[in-house]
């Protein structure tokens, strides 16, 4: 062992070398390097953050939706406080003397040496008064901020809101510091990084009393703020406003898409609220009351809520069956009400007629042919194979996937597959007869209004779609991104033509279920749906128009409003008219819809 004993010198030498290195560096820093001592002599730096202006938000026609308003935070470094006229300060910013001491204690508790926000969001007029007296209040200074201003008072779910950053985000993102504002919902959240710009900083030298002595190194280390980018949304604010008006006193959503581009024209979620409610000092209070409201106005139902789609799903069922070759466009199936209930109508001798009459047994048989194709003797094994093939196909229509539209909270919905039912019933314990209600858009399938509208856009385009999106321009440059690209669906065009023919019949022919959506000179194609519910049925309608070169495709979902033709169809019709013509001329219908109150009974 002792033969290694001389190694103690090597170890000792290494340790000594490291300590000598530290010693030399200390000598260099403390004796030699003069630049570091500039801030010595009881001078110290103060970093004043320069907040950039947040980007503005416009609609597709360059109507300004969101802008900024100046506000000022009164900051305090408690240690630098001197005796002063506290009453005068209280008057300047309009607080009571008790509040003053409360705030002072809060700042003291946070830090004696670091600036903390003494009073938030002072408006311009108060600031003017305060500024004149500020020199008397040692330790206080003002930091400029900007608040959001939502000009139109609508589209709250799209625009979203900003608020003070929460602790969790703060810890994970070094860009932010405490008290910063960050997008909390809507576009403000999803495009936070575009809108926020980047903060700058100005460094000042201050003496122990906190008085500014000048800029640090003549501003060499200052960093200017970069303003946020302005964005244009794809939303047409007039159409949005009209949609919100029509949905007044109802619970549900409207999603309207321009089929040829995937641009979202309107995205209504009702009930809604004025986004301006969530700005400024009253934010906290308003937020709580919105959060606790039984109608849950904060939820963006258009993208976050999913429902059984009802009969509109029959079109998708037919498309898959046609493409898989298990039926033909001219297939006839009897209206056999022993299988599933139906209403009286002439016999359906083609897919288009099946869609027109929305014949439940027709799609029962269509779906049965799709699910049980005789790959296997056992109907249990057979249904498993059939269902998975079906699911793979139907998902290409945008179902069961979270469409990246540029808003937070998009729900992917659900298309149940064999794994789903295996978990529910056990493997090989279920067959077509267990799941047939899928054929009429009931049962376990869940679809968001956004997905319905997107599906409608696919039908309007006869087979392709652009991923629906909400962002149109960034700093006046047309936005192109991963979520604007064109996607083709694996269905033959002739099958889409057949489906569209059916949707045309629905609106424009006798025995069609969507005659309320009919317009004189615009050919509307649509499909009604009535989604069964524990309470009253939900009313659903998807439509696009005109039939050739469609300009708008939309989905209307009204909760607890009963048959789809009664409420959702006329709302869709008015929206189409408004978009294509720019005005509507059926004021009686309009009035009836606006004044009707349909409240959720769940």
């Amino acid at each position: 062992m002792s033969n290694w004993s001389n190694r103690k010198y090597i170890i000792g030498a290494i340790i000594l070398i490291v300590f000598i290195t530290i010693f030399i560096k200390l000598f260099y820093l403390q004796i030699f390097d003069e630049t570091l001592k500039q801030s010595s002599d009881n001078n110290s730096q103060r970093h004043v953050t320069v907040y950039p202006g947040r980007g503005l938000i416009y609609d597709r026609n360059s109507v300004l939706l969101v802008c900024n308003e100046a506000a000022y935070d009164l900051m305090l470094v408690p240690r630098n406080m001197d005796e002063f006229d506290t009453l005068s300060l209280c008057n300047d910013i309009d607080i009571s003397i008790e509040e003053f001491y409360e705030k002072l204690e809060k700042c003291r508790k946070y830090s004696m040496y670091r600036p903390s926000i003494f009073h938030k969001q002072i408006n311009s007029s108060q600031y003017a008064v305060l500024q004149e007296h500020l020199y008397k209040y040692h330790g206080f200074f003002v930091q400029a901020r900007s608040l959001r201003k939502y000009n139109e008072g609508i589209a709250a779910h799209i625009l979203g809101d900003i608020g003070e950053i929460d602790i969790k985000t703060l810890e994970n993102d070094s860009y932010y510091s405490g008290g910063d504002y960050i997008g909390k919902s809507g576009v403000e959240k999803s495009y936070e990084e575009l809108l926020r710009g980047s903060k700058g900083v100005e460094i000042f030298l201050v003496d122990v009393r906190g008085n500014i002595q000048g800029s640090y190194h003549n501003g060499k280390y200052d960093k200017p703020a970069t303003p946020g980018k302005d964005i244009h949304l794809t939303i047409d604010i007039e159409l949005q406003r009209y949609g919100e008006l029509l949905m007044k006193n109802k619970v549900g959503s409207i999603v309207a898409i321009e089929p040829k581009s995937g641009e979202i024209l309107a995205l209504v979620s009702s009930p809604s609220y004025d986004p301006q409610l969530l700005v400024g000092r009253k934010r906290g209070h308003n937020y709580d009351s919105l959060l606790n409201s039984p109608a849950k106005p904060l939820i963006n139902r258009a993208v976050s809520s999913t429902y059984p789609p009802g009969s509109i799903f029959k079109i998708a069922i037919a498309l898959v069956a046609l493409q898989e070759g298990v039926i033909k466009t001219t297939s006839y199936f009897p209206c056999d009400v022993s299988k599933v209930a139906c209403h009286g109508h002439p016999p359906a001798n083609s897919v288009a007629r099946g869609i027109q009459y929305s014949c439940n047994p027709y799609f029962y048989f269509v779906f049965k042919n799709t699910i049980q194709r005789g790959f296997e003797k056992s109907i249990f094994k057979d249904s498993r194979i059939g269902l998975d093939l079906w699911k793979e196909k139907i998902m290409t229509l945008g179902f069961n996937q979270a469409l990246d539209i540029g808003l937070p909270g998009v729900n992917k919905g659900l298309i149940p597959g064999s794994d789903f039912y295996d978990k529910w019933y056990g493997k090989h314990r279920w067959a077509f007869s267990t799941i047939y209600s899928l054929s009429i858009g009931q049962g376990e399938v869940l679809v968001s209004p956004l997905q319905m509208a997107n599906f409608c856009a696919i039908l309007a385009n006869r087979g392709f779609y652009h991923n629906p999106h909400i962002l149109k321009k960034i700093d006046n440059e047309e936005y192109v991104g991963e979520n604007t690209k064109k996607i083709f669906t694996p269905f033959a065009r002739e099958y889409f033509e057949e489906a569209v023919k059916g949707m045309d019949y629905v609106v424009n022919e006798e025995y069609g279920t969507g005659y309320y959506a009919r317009l004189q000179d615009i050919r509307v194609c649509g499909k009604t749906g009535t989604a069964q519910n524990r309470g009253k049925d939900h009313s659903v309608f998807i439509a696009f128009a005109p039939k050739d070169q469609p300009k708008i495709a939309l989905a209307v979902y009204v909760e607890n409003a009963g048959f789809g033709g009664t409420w959702a169809a006329p709302i869709a019709r008015l929206m189409i008219e408004k978009h294509i013509r720019g005005y509507t001329n059926d004021s009686i219908l309009e009035k009836r819809i606006i004044e009707t109150e349909i409240l959720s009974n769940e």
């Binding site: 062992m1 033969n3 290694w4 004993s5 190694r7 103690k8 090597i10 170890i11 000792g12 290494i14 340790i15 000594l16 490291v18 300590f19 290195t21 530290i22 010693f23 560096k25 200390l26 000598f27 820093l29 403390q30 004796i31 390097d33 570091l36 001592k37 801030s39 010595s40 009881n42 001078n43 110290s44 730096q45 103060r46 970093h47 240690r79 003291r108 830090s111 004696m112 040496y113 670091r114 810890e171 070094s174 900083v201 201050v206 122990v208 280390y221 960093k223």
Partner: protein, 477 residues
Amino acid sequence: MNRSKRGNILVNIDWITVAIYLILVFLGWINIYSATYNESHISIFDISQKYGKQLIWIGAAIIIAVFTLIIDSKFYSSFAYVLYGIGILLLLSVLFFGIEVNASKSWFQIGDFRIQPVEFTKISVCLALARLLSDENFSFNKFSDVIRTAIIFALPIILIFLQNDTGSALMFFSFIFVLFRQGMNKVVFITSFALVVFFILALIIDLEILLIISLALNIIGFTILNKYSSQKRIVFYTSLVLAIISYVLYKYTNIFVDKTLTLVLINTAAIALLMLVLFIIKKNKTIILFLTTIIGITIFVLSVDFVFNNILQPHQQNRINDLLGISSDPLGAGYNVNQSKIAIGSGGLSGKGFLKGTQTKYNFVPEQSTDFIFCTIGEEWGFLGSSLVLFLFCFLILRLIFLAERQRSVFSRIYGYGVVSILFFHVAINMGMTIGLAPVIGIPLPFFSYGGSSLWAFTILLFIFIKLDSDRLQIFR
């Protein structure tokens, strides 16, 4: 030597070490007072403030120290593995029951009090290592013994990585001193140092230069190790030619996409092949070792990017970038270090005086009473004060080496070197990071930094050794 002297612990305790310990703890306390000084709580004994609490921790630490001295010294060697097991269990349980602080899940919270078990695991690893290496039959030439040693380190390192506490995990590499002292092959020792140097070099230097350095190192290493001078030239020229070929290949063809991979792989493959041939001819053991070393370096260099991008946390990456001058944003990641340097620099020769520091109070706050306590010393006590603290630590560590070397028991000596390694790593890295010499990894300055669990752990660590040392005369070889 008479019996009574041998048995009397008060006589045999190394009072010099104890005195340095007490001075350091005291200095730590008054600097915490200064760093967190609160005008509305002026008394240094005010237990609502950090300085008051630290006094309680110090009191408890002294009681703990006394207990550590009272326990029979055989306990530490006999129960070394048991304590190691407990240490590992603590690390495991903190993964499940711990709370997250600064993105590391490495703390237990009991009421208001937080404990970081890794602090105590250091002690038990140190004991277990001493026990293992002091075994009469232990040899670095035995494969099974090397594996055992590796396991002792691997278990805690893995668990600490899982807690996201890279700083503490790195500390275990400092035990290389212990292994070296106990007869680990010096090639491995040199290689380990080379690895560290390479890790940093690979981050800053162009690959072309790195390649030249690596070649030079290869050659120097070979020159030192290889006694067969006739082969030297062959190796030198061959590897040079191959390196140039690989460089030309990279530069003028598009065969290889990734330049790091290309250069290093070709270079290494060439050298490795050459070595293999030489080995087959000569069956020279040194060559095998050298071969392994080269391959080790290569894997290491290759893994730098991977480790840097995938294992280190973003804030650690920033800090390394900052340390190495890759990003020089005075308000970004380097903010802490920049402010820390200004604070220390502004202290000048004799400092601003007790409680007069402004830099540490105004700007630079996040960890001024814990990891960055050295700033306060530098600012308020100046170059004289900070050198004194540096000197005290240096003296303490060298004193511990001296004590370790005078042990008759191998166990005690190894443990002593363990204490040396741990203290050295903490002091060097902690001071280094405040003056921009080392990356900012959150580890405390022993005896100085605010906090009970770190103070207690370092106290136990040191006093076990003082106890072992005081019993040195009772042990015969």
